[in-house]
Symmetry: C2
Subunit: 107 residues, 2 copies
Amino acid sequence: MVERNLDTTFTALADPTRRAMLAALSTGEKSIGELAAPHAMSFAGASKHVGVLVRAGLVRRRKVGRQQVCTLEAAPLRDAEQWLRRWEGFWTHRLDALEAALNEKPQ
Amino acid sequence: MVERNLDTTFTALADPTRRAMLAALSTGEKSIGELAAPHAMSFAGASKHVGVLVRAGLVRRRKVGRQQVCTLEAAPLRDAEQWLRRWEGFWTHRLDALEAALNEKPQ
DNA sequence: GGGTTATAAAACCACATGGTTGACCATGTC
DNA sequence: GACATGGTCAACCATGTGGTTTTATAACCC
């Protein structure tokens, strides 16, 4: 369950339009129209981006009147973050070593 | 500098072969042949995956004799992790709320 | 009912991606 | 020099992606 979803989660995150949409949703629910508005792009194009987010499980849609209201679903983000955190110790070591090397030989 | 690289970082992470290669590199340097071996895939195909990781700044290559030795470069992983962590508070709230709701109405 | 609003769905285009194979180029070994 | 090894590069194929436009549908307003 984890590994499979990482594919679609990271794919969904690999686009700046979609990351911006997630950021917009972090301040509260938005209709698809509201999500689309800030992006210089056709409505249909933006709607497809929302579809990618929904398929990745990052967004839930529900119909309210004639609008689709979207809410952020953070669980897959947490999974992705946990996967990345496996390297936390590693990268802090490396960066500390780099910094030490720079201090030692200040050129 | 940050936003632009997130695209290529997340794209690089969106493939299980490449994630496995990063995991392999976390235990130490590996030649491209060693990285390719575990994957049922042509050598050239695996080499292309390594190329994606290099272009994303996640891996450095250097020539040693007739081999290319690869090392993990963790900094972009840290950037991606930091981006995801922006939602940390959000998802813990949501999940706490979900848990509370489940406890309150145990069905 | 008729018009407007919010969205979906489909067809299409250009380009990127993941994979292959085959030719090629170094480097090391005999 | 001859040959194997480690790897790159280019061409190719199928499929996916990001975008468009057009058409359709469902809900609301008058």
